[in-house]
Assembly symmetry: C2
Homo-oligomer: 191 residues x 2
């Protein structure tokens, strides 16, 4: 049992580094860039509060667990901004290697469980994963609207780009939320 706890704590210690992975997005008060640990907390809060935007087939408790671990691979692989230029194949390989190493710190049964949950999130095909991905995409636009543009300005983001990279996953997993958000984006980008 002691070996089991040692392995679990080794993983939890390693996870501390997610607090030092910076995203392209800023806090609403524009004081600094957001890190992936606090982002993970915030999207979980989004999922819980906006649970009524999920279909009846979605299990919010599983969604919360997915979002809790969804960015841990960034400790090794870094964050790839959705509006930046990324070599997708290289990023995918780096994230797979990161998942091997990081979840591999856990006891075998938990390595299997966490990896399966992360794989499901990444694939984005199940109702839970689709809702989780929608929620993961909605937090930054809400922050950018509140701060007068935020990271959109850094990346010369247009409404057309947002429709593709943000609108598609949100409307797929939480259509009511996209219905609410889209007119606000249109209004922002036409002003």
């Amino acid at each position: 049992m002691s070996d089991r706890i040692e392995a679990q704590i080794a993983f939890l210690r390693e996870a501390d580094q997610l607090k030092s992975v910076l995203r392209a997005s800023r806090l609403i008060d524009l004081s600094r860039f957001e890190n992936s640990a606090e982002h993970s907390w915030h999207v979980m809060l989004y999922a819980l509060v906006l649970a009524d935007q999920a279909g009846p087939e979605v299990d919010i408790s599983r969604v919360l667990k997915m979002l809790l671990i969804h960015d841990i691979v960034e400790i090794d692989a870094g964050d790839s901004p959705i509006h930046g230029q990324v070599d997708s194949a290289a990023q995918e390989a780096a994230e797979q290697a990161a998942a091997d190493r990081l979840f591999g710190l856990l006891p075998d049964d938990q390595n299997d469980d966490f990896r399966a949950l992360w794989d499901e999130f990444e694939a984005g095909e199940t109702p839970d994963a689709r809702f989780a991905k929608a929620i993961d995409r909605v937090q930054t636009p809400v922050a950018n609207l509140a701060s007068g543009g935020g990271s959109w300005r850094d990346y010369d983001v247009t409404l057309k780009k947002l429709d593709q990279r943000v609108g598609q996953p949100i409307s797929r997993g939480a259509p009511g939320l996209w219905h609410w958000l889209r007119p606000k984006l249109q209004s922002f980008f036409s002003s």
Copy 2:
């Protein structure tokens, strides 16, 4: 429905400020102080990974929800370091007022649900709340052990103080974890 989303998003926007509430504890690499949003993420990860330290009567999904919202009141009331000097009555009043204002941004049904969950955590009497409180207390000692003392040095913390302020809640909610941690603390403080 649109009014409901507006209220939910207003709460979620306000919650962004938890990322700017600094705790007395530091990251393991000692690069900076930890904030309460990333701390909330990390203790949820502790709860999920260490779920086998909870009794069979504990519902880990409820524990995750408790930990997700447990520090939101700090947006108004601030963080009170467990080893610092605090006027408990004033802090308690500030946190109650913060809960009124912050959860009060949500639609009424969610205000009731979130407040009940936070009240349950604060009271610390149910099995779920006891486990959540134990987990909330274990993350900083693990970080301080890993960083050679961390915030213990700032507050002249002794083993006796830790036994009271950390040992009691941990042994109450997750006795196996305290059984694992206590010898490590003893070894640290006697070296």
